[in-house]
C-alpha cells in the first residue's frame, strides 16, 4: 500500500444518499478473481447506457451523458462527495477497489456504512465524515473547477478560499494509512499473544477446537 500524502484535487459531487455497493460495482464484476482493474466499471449501471460485463472494453460503450462522473469537468478528480450512508449493502471489497482503481483517494460524506468504511482504510482510501450542514455547503459550492485539499496529517479538508474543516479518524488507522502499512504484518507482531490466547482457550473451551 502506498503512503497517503496530502493532495489537492477536483471534487465529483454525487448527490445521492444510501448509495449501495451494488451501485458502486454491480455484482457481475464480482466474478473476477483478480483485485485490480475495476475502475472502468465503477458505478457501471449509472455510468453507461448498456449493460456491463466483466472484461468488457469500456472505451466504446455508450456513456450516460447525465451521470456526473461522465462530465469532462470532473476528469481526473480524486475526491468524491456524497450523501449519507455511502457504501451500504453487501460487504464486497470490490467497491473500494473500484473507487481506488478509478483514482479516488478520499470520499466525503455525512456518514458511511460500517464495513465499507473499514474497507476503505485497507485499500488506501480515506473516508472523511463531515457533518450534514458542511456537506450541504460543499454540495452547493462544488462544480467545475472546485477543488479541495485533503491533509490526513492535520485531519483537515481545505477549500481554495482558505476555509478548513476538521475531521476525526482513529489514530491507528491514520498511522497505517500515512505509512502505507500492511495490516497482517502489524497483527503478526502479536503472534505470541495469539498463541497464548489459543493455548488458554484450548483448556477452557476445548470444544471450540474439536475437529469432526
Amino acid at each position: 500500500m502506498k503512503p497517503f500524502k496530502k493532495f489537492t484535487s477536483r471534487v465529483v459531487p454525487l448527490d445521492r444518499a444510501n448509495v449501495d455497493t451494488d451501485a458502486i460495482i454491480p455484482k457481475q464484476f464480482l466474478k473476477s478473481i483478480r483485485r485490480s482493474g475495476f475502475g472502468p466499471y465503477l458505478f457501471d449501471e449509472w455510468r453507461y447506457l448498456d449493460r456491463g460485463e466483466p472484461d468488457m472494453d469500456c472505451s466504446h460503450r455508450p456513456l450516460n451523458p447525465e451521470f456526473v462522473l461522465n462530465l469532462p469537468c470532473y476528469a481526473g478528480a480524486r475526491i468524491l462527495l456524497v450523501r449519507k450512508n455511502f457504501g451500504c449493502g453487501s460487504s464486497r471489497e470490490h467497491a473500494p477497489w473500484a473507487l481506488e482503481d478509478y483514482g479516488f483517494r478520499a470520499i466525503i460524506a455525512p456518514s458511511f456504512a460500517d464495513i465499507f468504511y473499514n474497507n476503505c482504510f485497507k485499500n488506501g482510501i480515506l473516508p472523511i465524515v463531515l457533518d450534514e450542514a458542511t456537506v450541504d455547503r460543499l454540495f452547493s459550492e462544488a462544480g467545475p473547477g472546485f477543488e479541495l485539499t485533503v491533509d490526513l496529517e492535520s485531519q483537515t479538508v481545505a477549500t481554495p478560499f482558505g476555509e478548513t474543516f476538521h475531521f476525526d479518524v482513529d489514530a491507528s488507522r491514520k498511522h497505517r494509512l500515512l505509512n502505507g502499512l500492511d495490516d497482517i504484518g502489524l497483527t503478526l507482531q502479536h503472534a505470541d499473544a495469539i498463541r497464548a490466547y489459543e493455548a488458554a482457550r484450548r483448556k477452557s473451551a476445548p470444544w471450540l477446537f474439536a475437529v469432526p
Binding site: 451494488d22 455484482k27 483485485r35 456504512a113 482513529d170 474439536a210
Partner: protein
C-alpha cells in the same frame, strides 16, 4: 457495576490484545469461506509467502455461482466456473475442508454452518459475506468481513476491531398465526431504518423471539445487516441446544455437557445496560411486503404504496420517488393489486426446511397462476433438499407448477443463470431489494415464504392471514 450484555460477554471472551488507541485484536473461532470473496485473499496470502494460521478453523463451500439445475453438466459460465475451481484449488492447496458441488452437504454458507454444527454458541464467526450475521441466532458473535479481512483471518486467526454499541430490540407478545420471522424483522427495519443499527450489535429478545425456532431466529439475525448492524444476537436457550445436539461438528459426550454448562451464561445479565432499546409489539405485526428498493421501504400487505408527497424529509422523499420510478409503482396502489412475474423461494434468509414447509403448506393442492412465468424453489443446502424430498415437499411444488432446484444462492443475487429480465417483478424470500439485485432492471418485493407462495398461486400479493381464514 452493571451487568454485561451478551455482546459484552462474547467480546470480552475474544480479546487477545488491546491497542493504545482502544482498537482490539479479536480471536476468530470459525471462518467460513465461499468462492466470491476468497480468491484475492488466497492470492494475497501466497504473494506474501504466508500460510493459514489454523487450518481447522476454516470451512469452505461454493454457493454464489453454482448452477441450480443440471449440475452434472458443470458450470456453463466460464467466469463462474473459474471462481468455483479457484476455491477448490485453494482449499486443496492449503488443506481446508470444503463441501464440493457434488457433496450433499453443499449449500449456502449461512445455511450449512448451523446445519453442520460448525456454528456454535460463544464462538466468533466471520465470513466474507455480510449475511454472516445469521449465525448470531446461536448466541455467537458473527459478522461479515471484506476480502482483505478474509486474508487477515487466514493469516492470523484474528481481526482488528472496535467494539460496537449495544442495542436491544425487544419484541413483546406473540406473533399472529401466519406472521413469520421474516415479517418480524422487516417490521423492525421499517421502524429503525436501514441505518438504524449502524455502529451497534443488535440483540433480539422478548417473548416473540423466544417463541421462534432456530430457523426463524436465523431469519431475523440474517437481516440485522439490513438494519445497518453488522451483527445480530439471540441468547442461548433450550431451543438452541435442541437444534445443535448431535450435529457433525458439534461436541459430543462429556465435551457436549461441558459446553452446555458454559453456554448457560450466554445471555445478557438482567441488569445489563444497552445504549439503545427498541420495543416492538409482536401482535401489531402483519405480513410485510417491500414496495421500494431498500428493505426499509416496506408496508403491511393490507396497506398501500406510500406517497412521497407526504414525506417531509427531502432526501427520503427523493429516494422514495426514485424507488417508485424504478419499481414502476404509483402512490396509493394497494399492495394486493401488485402483480408478479416470477417468484423466488430461497436464499440464506428463507431456504431452510421450515421455510419450505411453510411455502408448501400454502401451495398444496393449488396451481401456479398462469400469469406467473416462473416460481423457483431453491433449497438452502443439499441436506435441506433431501429432507424436503423425504417429506414429499418437492412433489407438492412440482405438482403446482413450481421448479424444484439444487441448492445455492441462485436468484437472491443472480450471479448464476437464475435471474430476472429487465422490468420483471418478483416476489422474493431473499433479503435485498436493491436496484438490479435479482438481475439488471429486475424489481424485487421482499416477503416471507408463505407470502411468496401465495403470490405465485394468485398472481398478486395476498394477505396470507386472511387467506387462512377464508
Amino acid at each position: 457495576m452493571s451487568g454485561k450484555t451478551l455482546y459484552d460477554k462474547l467480546w470480552d471472551d475474544h480479546v487477545v490484545h488491546v491497542d493504545a488507541d482502544g482498537s482490539c485484536l479479536i480471536y476468530i473461532d470459525r471462518h467460513l469461506i465461499h468462492e466470491v470473496t476468497s480468491p484475492q485473499a488466497f492470492e494475497g496470502l501466497r504473494m506474501a509467502g504466508r500460510v493459514p494460521w489454523r487450518v481447522d478453523a476454516n470451512l469452505a463451500v461454493a454457493d454464489h455461482n453454482v448452477p441450480t439445475a443440471d449440475r452434472d453438466r458443470g458450470i456453463a459460465d466460464p467466469v463462474s466456473r473459474l471462481q468455483v475451481e479457484t476455491l477448490d484449488k485453494n482449499c486443496a492447496d492449503f488443506g481446508i475442508t470444503e463441501f464440493a458441488m457434488d457433496d450433499v452437504r453443499q449449500g449456502i454458507v449461512h445455511v450449512i454452518g448451523p446445519e453442520q454444527g460448525a456454528t456454535l454458541p460463544g464462538m466468533t464467526i466471520v465470513c466474507g459475506d455480510s449475511h454472516t450475521s445469521t449465525h448470531g441466532a446461536f448466541g455467537a458473535l458473527a459478522f461479515g468481513i471484506g476480502t482483505s479481512e478474509v486474508e487477515h483471518v487466514l493469516a492470523t486467526q484474528c481481526l482488528v476491531q472496535r467494539k460496537a454499541k449495544n442495542m436491544l430490540v425487544r419484541v413483546q407478545g406473540k406473533l399472529a398465526p401466519g406472521v413469520t420471522a421474516k415479517d418480524l424483522v422487516l417490521a423492525v427495519i421499517a421502524r429503525i431504518g436501514t441505518a438504524g443499527g449502524t455502529g451497534y450489535t443488535i440483540e433480539f429478545a422478548g417473548e416473540a423471539i423466544r417463541g421462534l425456532s432456530m430457523e426463524g431466529r436465523m431469519t431475523v439475525c440474517n437481516m440485522a445487516i439490513e438494519a445497518g448492524a453488522r451483527a445480530g444476537l439471540v441468547a442461548v436457550d433450550e431451543v438452541t441446544l435442541d437444534y445443535l445436539e448431535g450435529r457433525p461438528f458439534a461436541p459430543a459426550g462429556a465435551l457436549w455437557e461441558r459446553a452446555v454448562e458454559a453456554w448457560k451464561d450466554l445471555h445478557s445479565d438482567p441488569d445489563a445496560v444497552f445504549d439503545k432499546v427498541v420495543e416492538i409489539d409482536a401482535a401489531s405485526i402483519k405480513p410485510q411486503v417491500t414496495w421500494g428498493t431498500s428493505p426499509e421501504q416496506v408496508v403491511a400487505v393490507d396497506a398501500e404504496v406510500p406517497d412521497p408527497a407526504t414525506e417531509a424529509d427531502p432526501v427520503r422523499r427523493e429516494s422514495m420517488e426514485r424507488a417508485l420510478q424504478y419499481m414502476d409503482l404509483l402512490p396509493g396502489t394497494p399492495i394486493g393489486a401488485i402483480r408478479v412475474d416470477r417468484v423466488f423461494i430461497g436464499s440464506c434468509t428463507n431456504a431452510r426446511i421450515e421455510d419450505l414447509r411453510a411455502a408448501a403448506e400454502v401451495v398444496r393442492g393449488h396451481k401456479r397462476a398462469a400469469s406467473v412465468k416462473q416460481a423457483l424453489v431453491v433449497p438452502g443446502s443439499g441436506l435441506v433438499k433431501r429432507q424436503a424430498e423425504q417429506e414429499g415437499l418437492d412433489k407438492v411444488f412440482l405438482e403446482a407448477g413450481f421448479e424444484w432446484r439444487d441448492p445455492g444462492c441462485s436468484m437472491c443475487l443472480a450471479m448464476n443463470a437464475d435471474r430476472l429480465e429487465p422490468g420483471e417483478r418478483c416476489a422474493s424470500t431473499s433479503n435485498r431489494n436493491f436496484e438490479g439485485r435479482q438481475g439488471y432492471g429486475g424489481r424485487t418485493h421482499l416477503v416471507s415464504p408463505a407470502m411468496a407462495a401465495a403470490a405465485a398461486i394468485h398472481g398478486h400479493f395476498v394477505d396470507i392471514t386472511e387467506r387462512g381464514r377464508a
